[in-house]
Amino acid sequence: MPRQQQARSPVAKYESTVRKLKIVSTAALILGIVAIFASLATVILLASELPTSTNSPTTTVAGTGGPGSTLAGINQPLNSTSLSVINNAPNAYFETAGEMYLNDTIQNPIFGYPSFGSNAHTVNGFVANNKTSVVYLGSITCIYCGENRWAMALALSRFGTFSQLFTGYSSFGDGDVPTLYWAAEPYNSSTDDVHNYYTSNYINFVSIEDINPITGGFKLNPLQTILSNLVSIGNKTDLSAFNYILNLSSNTTTAFAGTPYTIWGRYQFNGADAADFGNPNQSATATGLPYLSLMTHGQVLGELARPNDQFGWTEYAAADVYTAALCKSLNNTASVCTLPAIQGIEAKLT
């Protein structure tokens, strides 16, 4: 009898272990099935939300979706009050933001100071009509172009005037962030546009905006396509500016590596000069949209009219960087160049 009891004990232990392993196995199997279904559901959900056609110029998008799929008010010209927020922004805002930037109290990333490294490089500059130039090559589909145009507009307003600006968005697949367009854009087409409504005694503003359907993702036309579109447009200055970018691209430092690509006098910037998608404590949505995607054009303009948080001040600080680059290129001939913060930032540019 005792021997039988001893013989049962290892068997009982074995059966207990097998039971536990079966529980673990079943749990792992359930988790695995859940993971598979989660992946499949994601694929199906995202496939159904993504636009099915990215090449239908006749499709009109009403923009009735929420953040991430809205085009509400696209291509509307800014009214006089909104335009004034850009054109008549007080120099005091540029000064305050510039001081914050120099004191390292701007919490959103801005190039060069202190932690993120510089994306600005010295170049000879593009001169046309005996004036130095700001050259912009970007895409309406691009999220950083969308983010960057606010700061660009503020900076350009220090050296000239916009008679028109338009409300726009980046593409659905690239954040759908509210932005400014230099001109009303054919956002369902695949083309390039060089129109803008900017005039200045100091500089040329050459804008080359690559356009692809806004309901898709980020898309940039191939070089040959951009070139042939510019040839069709037939503007010599724009073609020369594009050729200048091609020449810069033979050098890996200044090579065109993505949009936005800008030249501010004698300074070429690879990418945006800041990443201002909201306040630092405002995190992205669960589907990955940045906070800026949840804002309206009115809210952004409201921030620029009365900056009182990191988002607003970052826009002005980012504009200060571009302003400083131009001031240095123009030997400080514009009045904004006398601001102490601008001179401080100029000192940091190589």
Partner: protein, 173 residues
Amino acid sequence: MRQLGTGRIGVFAAIFSRKAYIAIAAASALVFYYVFYYLVVSDNYGVFLVLMPIYLIYLLVATSGILFSISVFTVAYSAASRRLGVEGGIMGVLLPSMGGIVAGCACALPLLTSILLFLGINAFEALGIVTAIGIYQLWIVLAMIAINTGMIYYYLGRLPASRKKRQRRAAGL
């Protein structure tokens, strides 16, 4: 020698019934996530800008961690470690890293563009490649998750077969 259950589920259960391998999977997933995070942040001026559902990223690093842990187990378990498990471990490291490079903003992806330029591809061709990857970044990440899952399935299938081979060898068959 550890007793492995029959079938892939049994093998999976046997491996992850040990706390050490759960710890390896968790630790490696954490490392992979921070590699992914660092690469995205490097590409986006310090902003963790990922324009896809974050749970897909978690799934990618979780499957990579599990794959890495299984690879460690197979190296420890098998005498033929050069043929078993190492490839899975490498893949577990590579895929989240690649995910980090492709999952940033499609506008620029300067890290990937820099690599392509270094390889001698001219700027506009490089940008063409980068934007193509940017357009399909979501599908690329889904494919990586599928590859990880497939490799987990494959290695779990090889382990009982390897045990049977050794048993036959030991019995002189």
